[in-house]
Symmetry: C2
Subunit: 203 residues, 2 copies
C-alpha cells in the first residue's frame, strides 16, 4: 500500500516499471507488483490479462520514456559526430543495466509480445546512430571506408556489453572503459576533432 493518487491501473504500471528494472521479469511476481502498487488482486486481473500483459505495457512505457531522453541527445542542431559522442558518453547507472535490454536474457524474450518493445527501442537507437554517422560521412567528417550501418550496431553493442561487464563484475568502471575504447576508435575514423573524452561517465 504505497501510492495514493491515480487509478490502480496506473499504479500497477508504475510499480511494474520499477520492478522490471530492479529485478527483471522472472524474478518479479504478481504479488510484488500488487504490494508495491498498493492494488488488490482483482485490479491486476481486471485491467490486464496477467503478468505478461502488464509487463508488456510497462515495457512499452519505459521505451517511450527512455526514447524521449535519447532523442534529445541526438539534437539535429549539433554536429553529427558530437551527437554520437554525446550518446556514448551519456551518464549511466552501469550496475542497474539497460532499462530495456536488461531483459534480453530472460527466457520470456522468446515470446514476440515480450521482446517487441525492447527490439523496437534498440532499433530506434541504431537508426539514430546510423543517421548521424551517415550524415558525418556525407559531410566529410567520417572516413569514406567506414560503413555507418554496421558501425552503428557495433556502438550500441558496446553500450549493452558495457552494462553486462559492469554487472558481472559489479564494477561500473567496465562501462567507462568500454565507452572509452569506443570513443578512441571513433576518433581514428573521424576527420574532425571529437569532444574531449573526459566527460563524466556512468557513476
Amino acid at each position: 500500500m504505497r501510492r495514493a493518487g491515480g487509478s490502480k491501473r496506473t499504479a500497477l504500471i508504475e510499480a511494474t516499471k520499477e520492478l522490471l528494472w530492479e529485478r527483471g521479469y522472472e524474478a518479479t511476481s504478481p504479488r510484488d507488483m500488487l504490494d508495491r502498487s498498493g492494488a488488490g488482486q482483482g485490479s491486476l486481473y481486471h485491467h490486464f490479462a496477467g503478468k505478461l500483459e502488464l509487463a508488456r505495457t510497462a515495457l512499452t512505457e519505459m521505451a517511450e520514456e527512455e526514447m524521449a531522453a535519447i532523442a534529445a541527445i541526438f539534437d539535429p542542431a549539433k554536429p553529427p559526430l558530437d551527437r554520437v559522442h554525446a550518446y556514448l558518453c551519456r551518464e549511466r547507472d552501469a550496475l542497474r543495466g539497460c532499462r530495456l535490454a536488461r531483459l534480453a536474457n530472460e527466457a520470456a524474450v522468446e515470446l514476440p509480445a515480450f521482446r517487441q518493445p525492447i527490439a523496437a527501442f534498440l532499433d530506434r537507437i541504431i537508426e539514430l546512430l546510423h543517421a548521424s554517422l551517415a550524415e558525418a560521412q556525407a559531410g566529410g567528417q567520417l572516413r569514406p571506408g567506414i560503413d555507418p550501418s554496421i558501425v552503428a550496431t557495433t556502438l550500441l553493442a558496446v553500450i549493452e556489453g558495457g552494462y553486462v561487464l559492469a554487472r558481472a563484475h559489479w564494477e561500473p568502471r567496465y562501462m567507462v572503459e568500454a565507452v572509452g575504447g569506443a570513443v578512441a576508435l571513433l576518433r581514428t575514423v573521424a576527420t574532425v576533432p571529437i569532444p574531449s573524452a573526459a566527460e563524466r561517465l556512468g557513476q
Copy 2:
C-alpha cells in the same frame, strides 16, 4: 530420468550446466535439475547446500570448458592481431547468448558467490585480448596512440552486446554486424592487413 552412467552428483552438474544456458538461473528450479539429471531430491541436497551452490559449481565448470576453447584461439604462434580477429569472428550461437555472461542480468548476480566465476571468466578474456593488442603494438602492428587495455574491454563489450542485440531481436545477424563493425574499426588502427572479414559468423 535421463542419464545412466556416472554419479548423481555429476549428472546434476551436467543437467544444471544445460539449464543455466537454456533458461538462466531464476527460471530454473531444483525440480528441473532433478528431472533432467534423473536424480532424486535427496541427491541434490546431499551433494550441495542447495540450488545456489549447485549453480555455482556448474558455472565454474562451464567457465573452464569455455576457457579451454578460447585459450586455443589465442595461440601464441599466430600473429597477435590474427588472434584478436579469430576471437571476434569465432562462430557463435548468437541466440543462445554467452554461456556465462548471459547470467549477468539475473538478480542473483548481486551475490559474490554467483558472479565470481562469471567475472573471472570475462577478465581472463580481457587479459588475452589486452596481451595480444599490446604485443601487436610493441611489434609495430598497432598504432601507438591506441590504449590496448581499454580497447580490449571494448572488444569484449561488442561481443557481449552482440548477444544482447541478437536475443532482443531474435535475429543472429545483429551479432554478425556488431562484430563486422568492430573488425572494420580494428583494421583502421592496424598497420598490417587483418584476415578477411568474410569468415563464417554466428549461426
